[in-house]
Amino acid sequence: MVNPSLLIGVPLALAFSIPLFGLISKKIEKYIPVAALLINVVISLTLIPQVLKKPVVVFIGGWNPPFCINLVVGPLGIFLAILISGIGLLVSIYAVSYIKEEPTEKYHILFLLLMVGAIGIVLTGDIFNLFVFFEILCISSYALVAYNKDKEGTEAAMKYLIQGSIGSSFILIGIALLYGGFGTLNMAHIASKITSADPTFLFITLAFFITGFGIEAAIFPLNAWLPDAHSSAPSSISAILSCIAIKTGVYGVARMIFTIFNAGSILTFIAFLGLLTLLIGEMSAFRQDDIKRLLAYSSIGQIGLIVFALGIATSLGVFGALFQIVSHALAKALLFLAAGYMIYRVGSKSITSLNGIGKKMPLTSFAFAIGSFSLIGLPPFAGFISKFSIIYAAIQVKKPIFLAFIAVVLIATIVEAGYFFRIVQNLYFKEGKKLEKVTETSGFILIPLIILTISIIAIGIHPQFITGLLKEAANELLERAGYIGWVLGGT
């Protein structure tokens, strides 16, 4: 059996060995993240059959739970680990030729550390380790946003750092309160004792956690850092932040609400917050001229949709939320990577400067169009199935307020379609200026674009590839007794 702690150990060890490889040859170092994440994808794929049979719980240090640091590799953890390593692998292939500004070895170290943080967050079973991995993720992403050291990048990183570290402090206050209340840090052990506590105490603690993770997840009204950070970072980092970093915030919120606190009473409020986030994100995206800012606001909207689906809290609703995480990660990675290279060729972030680029860069523009159609939710692509299951789940709740919510979701989808169709129209049907020198992307850049396009279409046509794993993952969130049982051994 492969030990799941390798999923964290391999990238961590390789991250700090990058300068050593750099001593041998400057050319090797940029392939180290590709190698590390490829190993991760292989390890996590081989773990799937075992995890679906019985979740793997790793105890570190030979102590029995609840006294040890442990990793809980359930269906949800392994699913998110595959998603993170897979997207990370594609983005690292892209970065091989995209990142040219020195010092590149620092970029690759920070990138791998970001991956370590994200994978650690989804696999750990210990609430303080969750905080430590969360800080690894946050600190490396602050540094990566400022990687180009230009005016926008540093300003965005400063904003992100101020808000992010307030959020981390709130999470730490929540952890301190939980430890004071229950005397344990093991998530399953806290979850098993949670019914014995005072409801007011639990409410205050949960509020600290939701605010802390909500800042990373960019839930309205905590989303002020996201458009700046995503639009000023290098495009590969925008893709990673949008596909992985904010998803870990959503994971944190979901884990706290469903597994630890079992807070069924605030779910409608969470759905409402998600809806507000969706509406604000899509409306702000509609009036943007800067393409990366537009994609960043669209990320806020999609996070809102995911949080709304989590708030439905039926098994179909959570399944829809997880499916939306996959389809948004694939589509948004594709959009940021394609847009990143178009911006690189054209030299401007404005949407009108991309007019007519469809004839010059046919493959990249085609990939961009596929990504935006999937994000809107057009039928043959992956986004259709996730949006359809979310709306179907909301109808099945049979509460009048959810019917109103569905109407808002559909209106937001129309707004989304409005701005994405506008860009695709600009790409193909408008005459552009100064495009003589623009040529098609080549080499390593094309590999991730092609793989992402194919996987969006493949999952859209044949969703059974992932539905089995996603259903198990949704059950893990909804059946907390099962989670407690895996760790503590019998309930």
């Binding site: 303080f128 602050y142 230009d150 300003e155 430890y179």
Partner: protein, 119 residues
Amino acid sequence: MNPIYNWMYYIASGGLILIGLYIVLVKTNLIKIVIGLHFVNTGVNILLICIGYIRGRTAPIFSKPGINPTNVVDPVPQALVLTAIVIGVAVLALALSIVIKVYEHNKTLNVSRIKGLKW
């Protein structure tokens, strides 16, 4: 015992967190904002420590004579705080280095004058 004596560490930690949040929200100088962030961090660390502290007990070093589980404090929060302090220092160092870069680009530390990025 009066309540202030019993709760003084909690009051101190809560006060530090609130002072830090106030600085972050109100001050316009970036360096002061970073100091405010560190105030919040320190307040949270003290909160963690005082959760594990029991008045009149000592550190759990069992190699010393006369130390047994009934007269020691809980060591786990102290271990957590060590980690949290290290993380706090990392964030502080990164924040200050970004502040230097922001100053180089804008020639000011006043956040109300740094507005290259807007909604």
